[in-house]
């Protein structure tokens, strides 16, 4: 094997060279650089010498602590309650700031908390913004990957017919993919505009004015779903084309055979189309997952991670820290963590969808 690759295959190597060289230069080398930077305090611009800091950048991002807040008690030991009857707790900042009794909490902030009896259990994080970005990124992937893949398959089935003018539909569905994502994001900001934006107007018209206008991107509960919907719409055409290629690879003789056997539409899909799309499905799943993890432009243009960090995502944070705040080591650390996550998930997907 090795001898065949090295000896009688010079033309192959020459043809592969440009691709390998570019990938080495722009993907492999930067990855190793990012890993190296993440172990230092590298800045974007600084006269100070770079120092090796070990895994400090990682612990600054991933540090967690659990703390139980006991309620405020008055002199008789009874729990203090506010006007609404809610239990009052001491401010967390009394413990996390300049308090030598709790060194493990220093500099940490509340991520989330829940009530347990009279006490309140608080999970603190060294970097709440990063944690929120992590959760938002996963939420985005979990919703976008299946919905986008499913919608793309439906569209592919629809346009995989011999009809007059079908190419018009193919073009229309594919159009958003060709337009730059930055342009699409700016347009969708107008669509989501609060008050009299296009979406608010359309919904108001459809419901005869019963719909109250929403501040789609300015509301913590709608901002991320709004970006998901827009991202799905933008990317669905690309995956539709890949599905379509898969569909057209299935031999027509199989469908003819199915027809003769008297298979109905669902049986045809379940026993002929779907098995025939196996490899395409694996490809699409992995590609969508990786693309969804790389979410950046929409966030950068539409929300900058706001409101209240409800649309923070990992790549945006990596860029924001590395370039915006000149902290190359911090940005690199996030990139390395993202790489490990995506690699792990891809390997799991590979394993689950392996040929048995």
């Amino acid at each position: 094997m090795a001898s065949k690759l090295t000896r009688s295959n010079r033309a192959g190597w020459i043809m592969a060279f440009p691709g390998i060289a570019l990938m080495t230069l722009f993907i492999i080398v930067p990855f190793f650089l990012a890993f190296a930077f993440s172990l230092t305090n590298q800045r974007l611009a600084s006269p100070n010498a770079v120092e090796y800091v070990g895994f400090e950048n990682y612990s600054d991002l991933l540090g967690l602590a659990v703390f139980t807040l006991e309620p405020e008690r008055d002199e008789s030991g009874a729990v203090v309650r506010d006007e609404d009857g809610e239990i009052e707790y001491p401010r967390l900042r009394n413990f996390t700031r300049n308090n030598p009794d709790y060194p493990n909490l220093a500099g940490k902030r509340e991520w989330f908390s829940w009530a347990s009896g009279e006490n309140r259990t608080v999970v603190l994080s060294s970097d709440v913004v990063f944690m929120k970005a992590l959760v938002n990124t996963f939420t985005f992937v979990i919703f976008v990957a299946p919905i986008q893949a499913g919608l793309a398959l439906c569209l592919a089935l629809l346009i995989n017919q011999k009809l007059r003018g079908i190419n018009v539909f193919r073009t229309v569905y594919f159009m958003p993919v060709v337009v730059s994502i930055v342009v699409v994001s700016i347009l969708w900001r107008f669509i989501y505009s609060p008050g009299d934006g296009l979406l608010n107007n359309a919904l108001g018209w459809l419901t005869f004015g019963a719909f109250t206008p929403q501040d789609w991107l300015g509301n913590t509960s709608t901002a991320l779903p709004a970006i998901m919907a827009m991202s799905i719409w933008q990317g669905v055409g690309f995956h539709m084309v890949i599905w379509l290629a898969g569909l057209q690879n299935i031999s027509p003789t199989l469908y003819e055979a199915g027809n003769i056997e008297g298979a109905n539409k669902w049986q045809t899909f379940r026993y002929i189309t779907w098995p025939g799309l196996r490899n395409t499905a694996v490809l699409i799943l992995i590609v969508i997952t990786m693309q969804a993890f790389a979410l950046f432009a929409q966030i950068d243009v539409m929300t900058s991670g706001g409101p209240l960090d409800s649309t923070q995502v990992l790549v945006f944070q990596a860029v924001e820290r590395g370039y915006g705040k000149q902290d190359i080591s911090g940005g690199s650390t996030i990139s390395v963590i993202l790489f490990v996550i995506v690699l792990t998930i891809s390997l799991i997907q590979r394993y689950l969808t392996r040929e048995r």
């Binding site: 305090n41 800045r43 974007l44 611009a45 600084s46 006269p47 100070n48 401010r91 967390l92 900042r93 996390t96 700031r97 500099g107 902030r109 509340e110 709440v128 505009s193 609060p194 008050g195 934006g197 501040d215 991107l217 300015g218 913590t220 900058s304 706001g306 409101p307 209240l308 960090d309 924001e320 370039y323 915006g324 705040k325 000149q326 902290d327």
Partner: protein, 420 residues
């Protein structure tokens, strides 16, 4: 044939040598594609400088503003900085500290009579000077205030916090406006620290402790800052101000079409207001929240790169630019505030009796430069996020604490940013 060739090349060489008598200086400028006359004026200034003497020939290269700082950063890493740099005032200390720039070394007497904003100092030395400054004002209409019984403030006697709050409540209650005040939340980015940190400073807080520039503790999360934060949040809770999702188009037109009663906006947006409202237009000073009224200062300025081989040529160009006639020309072309009073007198808008004269007075009376530290780049981003979060309802004390922590960690990670 051969002879002809030889003659031609000799002629060419002669031509080239005569042109090369002027040493080339490169100049990078941020205003590519600017909507007003800025780019044309810079080119005109360069041409006149090149024609005015025989030693130097300045070659200008312009960049879009959004890409400019990145281009300089990349050029610095690659060792390809130009001789003369154009730099935004608050960014200058970072570039000086990072070794992109060298002190100007000009005769400081030519800076007499300058507004404070256009002079960029770092560690006691002048690194950059500007041809103009910018100022912000509470822009509104006299009739709006008088119809609602609100006092028209003056520079000597600006609104107090209570007066300002009462004015906003009154205007909001009229129901004539969607919002009583437009702060420009749509303008994410440098606008936040530039336009809003003066409120914090007027309360008595600041982004970072200006005595040492080593910490933000007690300054950005002290009692004054907490009071500022609570007030800031109340503006949004009461609906006086449109929030962070404000449409940029509303920011442009909201005051002119009556959606907003008062707008916190810069002098660059003032001329349309004068055109629309004429004598009814008012440009009012910042309110005094207890520690004196404050507005931001400093705009784009010229400096010399650290790697320039001909700093004396760069210096000559910058001194050439520091003339009242250029200040006046840029002011007339762009609407910005000229750096000196004598130049202001030569302009259409800032001359005594001119429609924007008040902005020169505001700049003189209330302007405070943003924190002069290399860490400002990071601190501005942290401050911007804290203000956006508080506007969106985050807990004030926790948010400001988190901002303090982030600023302090950054100062520590940069070993104090070289303050001495």
């Amino acid at each position: 044939m051969k002879l002809k060739h030889l003659l031609a090349s000799a002629a060419l060489t002669a031509l080239a040598t005569s042109a090369a008598a002027q040493t080339e200086l490169s100049l990078w400028y941020h205003g590519a594609g600017s909507a007003n006359a800025e780019e044309a004026l810079v080119n005109q200034m360069v041409e006149e400088f090149n024609a005015s003497q025989s030693d130097w020939r300045v070659v200008i290269e312009t960049f879009p503003q959004l890409a400019y700082n990145d281009a300089v950063g990349a050029a610095a890493l690659a060792g390809e900085l130009p001789d003369i740099l154009d730099v935004d005032g608050p960014v200058m200390p970072n570039w000086a500290w990072a070794g992109y720039m060298q002190p100007l070394g000009i005769d400081e007497s030519i800076l007499d009579g300058f507004l404070p904003g256009p002079i960029g100092r770092w560690n006691g030395e002048v690194y950059s000077v500007g041809l103009w400054d910018a100022a912000v004002a509470m822009t509104t209409r006299r009739s709006t205030l008088e119809d609602n019984g609100i006092r028209v403030p003056t520079i000597e006697e600006p609104w107090t916090k209570d007066e300002f709050d009462a004015a906003l409540a009154t205007l909001q209650a009229t129901g004539d406006f969607d919002h009583a005040l437009d702060l420009g939340m749509a303008w994410a980015g440098e606008w936040y620290p530039y336009a809003f940190s003066p409120f914090l400073q007027s309360f008595g807080g600041d982004i970072v402790d200006r005595e040492t520039y080593q910490t933000a503790e007690g300054v950005l999360n002290g009692d004054e800052a907490l009071a500022f934060g609570e007030w800031w949040q109340s503006l949004f809770e009461n609906g006086y101000v449109p929030g962070t999702s404000q449409d940029a188009a509303d920011r442009e037109t909201g005051l002119l079409n009556g959606t907003y009663a008062i707008q916190w906006n810069g002098n660059w947006a003032a001329l349309p207001v004068v055109e629309a409202f004429g004598d009814d237009a008012l440009f009012l000073p910042a309110p005094d929240f207890g520690n004196g009224p404050v507005i931001g200062a400093a705009s784009w300025q010229f400096g010399i790169s650290a790697t320039s081989e001909h700093p004396e040529g760069a210096r000559e160009f910058i001194e050439f630019a520091m003339q009242d006639r250029w200040f006046a020309a840029f002011s007339d072309g762009t609407g910005l505030i000229p750096s000196t009073a004598s130049a202001a007198a030569m302009t259409e808008n800032y001359a005594p009796g001119g429609p924007l004269e008040v902005f020169y007075d505001l700049s003189e009376a209330q302007a405070l430069v943003r924190p002069v530290t290399p860490g400002y780049i990071v601190q501005a981003k942290v401050f911007e996020k804290a203000l956006a979060d508080i506007a969106n309802g985050a807990d004030v004390a926790d948010t400001l604490d988190a901002a303090v922590d982030e600023i302090n960690e950054d100062i520590e990670a940069n070993q104090g940013y070289g303050h001495n």
